[in-house]
Amino acid sequence: MTRPRPGGPAVLLGALSRRRRHRLAPTLLLLLALAAMGGAYTAFAPTPQAEASNGLPSGSVDAGRELFLKNCSSCHGLNAEGGSDGPSLVGVGAASVDFQVSTGRMPAAQLGAQVEEKRSQFTAQQIADLAAYVASLGPGPAIPDESELDLSDADPARGGEIYRTNCSMCHNYAGSGGALTEGKYAPSLRGVNPRHIYEAMLTGPQSMPVFGDHTMTPEDKRDIIAFLKTTEDEPSPGGATLGKLGPVTEGGVGWLVGIGGLIGCAVWLGAKAR
């Protein structure tokens, strides 16, 4: 009489349990744990909101004033005159409001080295109202309209030239972003709405300087955006991009993986066979 064979899961568990003292088990477990952590982080990390189209609603100054008093005045003052925690908003223009609020940077969650991008709290209509209110306080750059963001005639090659002279030192040669001083940083430009890139150049948010229309014309700005959008989905013929961060990551991988692998081989060569 044959013994009844245990079912599938039991066999698997039994096999696992028998091999739990295998010398590769800790390594395998570590790899599994790392993969699980990474996966969980990707799943739960906050992702910026999907970007709205350029066709923005028109805003109302009165509704914007209401929203301003409720959400912004504690730092920027009741009349947007500024305070100890926030600058005056007179003359910053609608472009600045649209950039700061629709990328979720404003209202700021906390005052740190840098106010970070997050999910916007407001609808497109509310942002338009706020922008209209702030624009009514004093003349400033307006939100670029669709014709200013039309990239069909833009020249990515020329944009690349301008980008490398004017932008790449902070935002990296491929738009991957980079570190500044004391915890500040230039954010990555990949996947950013062209309107927000345009508004950032126009208004110079936070650490970023202003690139006004007279020294960097709307055409220049469109070319830069076209360059960024072209390089964004460019395949990498040389293999893995390693985040396009430049020599630091490439050197890091070379040292850790390359030289680490060589050291591993050398240890194996020198180890006594059993």
Partner: protein, 400 residues
Amino acid sequence: MSDQQHSGPSGARTEADAGTGTASGTGDRIQAEGVTGSGDVQASGTSHDALVGDEGSGAPGAGAEGGRLVERAGHDGELTRTWNNPGLPSHVYRRSDVDQKAAQRREREVATFFGVSTLGTLLFIVAYFAIRPGGEDILEEVSLSTKLLGLGLGLALFCIGAGAIHWAKTLMPDDEIVQDRKPMRSSEEDRAAAVEAMKEGAAGAGLGRRKLIRNSLLGAMAPLGLLAIIPLRDLGPLPAASLTGTWWKAGRRVVTDPTGRPIKAAEIPIGTVIHVQPEGVENASHPINERAKSATLVIRLEPDEIQVQKQLDWSVDGIVAYSKICTHVGCPVGLYEQQTHHLLCPCHQSTYDVTRDCAVIFGPAARPLPQLPLDVDEEGYLVAREDFQEPVGPSYWERG
């Protein structure tokens, strides 16, 4: 070093099944050889003199057990330090030496390595013929082709090496073998013959007698050094003024880089930074050199933020211009933080404070960035009032 000589019979292979016997008797041998053997570990110690009771007595020191340091005075009075050789550790057998099944398993592992290498070669060949980049998505095809070719080649080469090493380590003989080192010194006859040949040669040349030949030879060889020095003249002209001056000069317009547009002072918003070049730099005789030296950063501050009088004097309505070349080792200083007015060099994090005439506030740079005096022409465009008043870029020897 040469203590290998004492481990076991000279030049003999240590038998695998007699691994423990090799150390026996070596201690005696050291003592017997005394200090005359060239292969002995000896040191004419000075610091150990005190340890020897009666120098020159010729009495051998006490023999020691395995691995212990022995001190004694030799027959010529010289202090000798000897290690008693412990011999080789006993031979450890591998699993494949004692277990036929284990050996067969190792054999299969080695064969697997070689098999994977064959697969890698096949992968390379298949990938080479299957992916011929040239279609619409050429970059993606090149990317895939590169990766597969690299993977195939890597597997093919690595697995041959890994298999060979695994084979050598687990299956090939691993007996410990001792080989004596040959003495470095030539035999006495050879040494005497060499000295004789030298003496004969010197006597034949007669350098001591024929003074004229000797002196004229010295006279011919001494100026040979000049031949190495004189051609240095062709190393090129000295840099002259090219280190101190740039393409900027009085009245030359400031234009945007790389778009080449002149800039109206009134059209620059506060907080702006513009990367600029002097107008017409592309017409210079060495445009690339001149562009490299003339790279300048125009920044507009609130005039009351400027804290240095000279900086204010050389500015126009809060618009200041500074050389973009770091005074440390010449990287382009391009990271301007609008709120802190810090200008940061990406290479070594030298940080300049723009409100204080670009004084160095952090990092390895030794002196502030040179300021370009600005003016506006009658049409309102920004122009240089004059060239930089000090050399731009890193310090150099003659700069002082």
